[in-house]
């Protein structure tokens, strides 16, 4: 018998992380790898609405508190350690709007 018993250490020292939920997939620019690449810029409006600018698209989202918090587990040998807890996510589910450069009005 090879028992699979994996222990998880206390979550007391766990950090607080945020989750970003996007529809579809994220692809790096041609020729680049995902690690190290810039995803985009995250802003919050005065009303607290998150705005994500990715490439030439802008996405509007909302701050959603999670019904059940998530725990991020990191495998260390045969044990799992609770690295972080997630209580909130930024959900982006509206269609990305392309940012069009300002076109001057006809004079």
């Amino acid at each position: 018998r090879s028992p699979q018993r994996c222990g998880c250490s206390e979550a007391a020292g766990a950090e607080d992380w945020l989750l970003l939920e996007l529809q579809g997939e994220v692809e790096p620019r041609q020729g680049r790898a995902l690690p190290g690449s810039l995803l985009g810029d995250l802003h919050y409006t005065q009303q607290g609405i998150p705005v994500l600018v990715v490439g030439h698209h802008v996405l509007y989202g909302k701050v959603v508190p999670l019904e059940k918090p998530l725990a991020v587990l990191e495998k260390r040998g045969a044990d799992y350690a609770v690295t972080a807890l997630v209580h909130t996510k930024l959900l982006f589910k509206t269609r990305p709007k392309p940012i069009v450069t300002h076109v001057p009005r006809k004079v």
Binding site: E15, W17, G24, L90
Partner: protein, 333 residues
Amino acid sequence: SLVIRGEKDEQAVLCSKDKTYDMKIADTSNMLLCVPGCRTPEQLKADGESCDIIHAQIAGFSNNYWELRRCRPKLKKLRKLLMEDPYEGPDSAKDQASTTSRYTTEDLLNVVQASEEEIMHQLQALDACQIEGYWRILNFDYEVKLLNHVTQLIDSESWSFSKVPLNICLQELGPLEPTEMIEHILLSYGRKYTDGGEVYFEMNEDKICRTTAQMLLKNAVKFNLADFQEVWQQSVPEGLTTRLDQLKGLALMDRSSRPETISMLKVEDLPEDNQERFNSLFSIRKKWTEEDITPYIQDLCGEKQTVGALLTKYARSSMLNGVKVYNSRRPIS
């Protein structure tokens, strides 16, 4: 702390100190990106406004996550393991044998998919005891032998069943059996209490009657019900009264046959999975009344599921001679 338990052929469960959870993968078509230290608008307001750019890194991303759902601890395996080598007494030659099918607490924690508290609670319910560090269940014949020593002593001393003195039991029965076993059988069949500085046991009369019934039923396929009731009452210790409701989850009566019969059916011998349990019950008997089936599905009830809810989900009801009965939703071969 949390532990994930399960062997290669089992579905993993997550256990806290006292609860067990099924682990299910929740797939989402969305991408979930984890960002350490990213602030929410509320947190930024609380921190005070600054115009610095915060460089945050995405630690990782995923399409899925594990969802936990509280479940019944998977304890059938515990009994199965302990039944591999039941304890037959100190004189048994078997006791000299190897200890490969014997389990310590640590061994059990490694292979039983339940929390530690749930396991310890079940060990008590099974009347298991620790012998030389291993958890053992008593072989039924040995258990009956020990019980008979006690009931015969109660009879010869004319004690009340609710006040059995520990010290005299140990004194009188010590020459016959190990003192740990005498105390163990008293604890299994009685409630310990002290009175005037002495330790006594209030015996569980129903449990004594139940074990006597099991002794009678185990070697016969079926018993004529009327005959059984007579023999059973005669077999129990003087002063105890037998009642059919003492046999819930142990024996099943057939009141439709002529003559009426009774046979052994132990709930702990039935499958643990809900659907398999119902399949098994319906292959034993096509139609069940709620009263008859309840003792055989009671243990499936969880925090949110009642017997009624289980019957609605896994059975179909109909009327038979003015009585509501339940049968299988699907044909049983």
